[in-house]
Symmetry: C2
Subunit: 227 residues, 2 copies
DNA sequence: TGACTATTCAAACAAGCGTTTTAAACTCCT
DNA sequence: AGGAGTTTAAAACGCTTGTTTGAATAGTCA
């Protein structure tokens, strides 16, 4: 690799990192290219030179975040825990997912960027849906089905999955409000274990309750209770 | 009231409605004053004339939304159901809250505006926190305590409240992703009953599970199990 | 070394934004 | 009817934004 190519690589990388953090923290529209270039210690024109335009930089940042995320991913953590009980796998899923939400600064802007894109799509949302969300949903659905049993309808599994993920992502989306309503709670990585345990306990009980409800109404053979 | 005053009032009101819907749907930064004025069939200068500037219009829209929301509010619905069981009151809370999230168009941009402000505060968040969120949290906390009993710590109640609200708001924040991951699900008002029932069942079971866990660990007299 | 390419940089550009200005249109009161 | 006060309308202003330009710099390779 030539020196020039190395320079290009290092500037590109700095832009990618700076853009990822800025975008994750403040959103696509609220971040200016000058903000990013200042943080990356690069010239204003660097973005257009290396990536074409702001949108392509954003797409590259999302793609990069996905690569980073899949390295030590939620799905990976769950797969590695294949030998564990469904309850333990649920805890692993929740804890790993929540880590990316509660962590601050450099190491975990990936999850925040994903979450932001989920709420305010910018065109690369479909890519995220296919590459990041679907596999996680698959993993979570498998765990949930292990817990509530094969008689539950697919719709029930999905509703439960959304209940679990909703509890987790709440700590991302509602953060500005949470710090105002609960000013004495840190709500950062120091609470990870406590919050992960709570969500796991709450969700486990919820899932078992749903499963118990199904047994009381064995009408439609369990499956396909949908409308 | 003079004719001029009536005209002023009607234009102001049209601006307020148009702004509320635009802001709720697309966010403060993504909406231009020209968008609002076009929708309200008013001149560009109307906003600055009637409200001063764009931010004050936004604040007025939030305030107006709060007024509309408190008319047939979550808290009101719960208070009216004071005679009901905690389980029924939980269902009423969830269903009323979820209505504002799932409803489309005119009648229910209030909840969406609130939710948007929760995720991306613009300066009036403190007002919302005090006027809208705190009373709802109080109402929900009371219901939760009725269900899980007096031995639970305040922190446990709060964690549970966040678990319930997280499930509900998820259908607002994650909507763009949800419609992509579940393209065959409507996720609008037609699903209100089903989703409200699911969240209620899931949460009720979750709460009872938390309560049961407390009885198995009566170490610290229940209260103050924090940290 | 010297032509050639790749990268950085300061400056300027064009478009979109919120806002202001200025004047016209309208209503009200005597 | 006519002046005063209020609301609407069109145009333009100033600022910020993303982007482009063209020169300056550094590195490669014959």
């Amino acid at each position: 690799m030539t020196r020039a190519e190395a320079d290009q690589a290092v500037t590109r990388q700095r832009l990618l990192e700076a853009a990822g953090q800025e975008f994750a923290e403040r959103g696509f529209r609220n971040v200016t290219v000058r903000d990013i270039c200042t943080r990356a210690e690069a010239n204003v024109a660097a973005i257009n030179y290396h990536f074409g335009d702001k949108e392509k930089l954003y797409a590259a940042a999302v793609h990069y975040a996905h690569l980073c995320a899949t390295r030590h991913d939620v799905v990976g953590a769950v797969a590695a825990a294949k030998a564990l009980s469904p309850e333990q796998r649920l805890h692993a899923f929740i804890r790993t997912f929540l880590t990316g939400i509660l962590e601050t600064g450099r190491p975990a802007w990936h999850a925040k960027l994903m979450a932001r894109e989920i709420a305010e799509p910018t065109g690369v949302l479909n890519e995220i849906a296919q590459q990041t969300v679907r596999p996680r949903l698959q993993a979570l659905s498998a765990i949930i089905r292990d817990i509530i049993g094969p008689r539950a309808s697919q719709q029930t599994v999905i509703n439960c999955a959304r209940s679990v993920v909703g509890q987790i992502l709440f700590y991302h989306f509602a953060r500005p409000m949470l710090v105002r309503v609960f000013p004495n709670e840190p709500l950062d990585a120091s609470r990870l274990d406590e919050l992960a345990s709570h969500i796991t306990s709450f969700s486990l009980a919820g899932l078992r309750g749903i499963a118990a409800d199904l047994k009381k109404l064995p009408k439609t053979k369990g499956k396909r209770a949908r409308r």
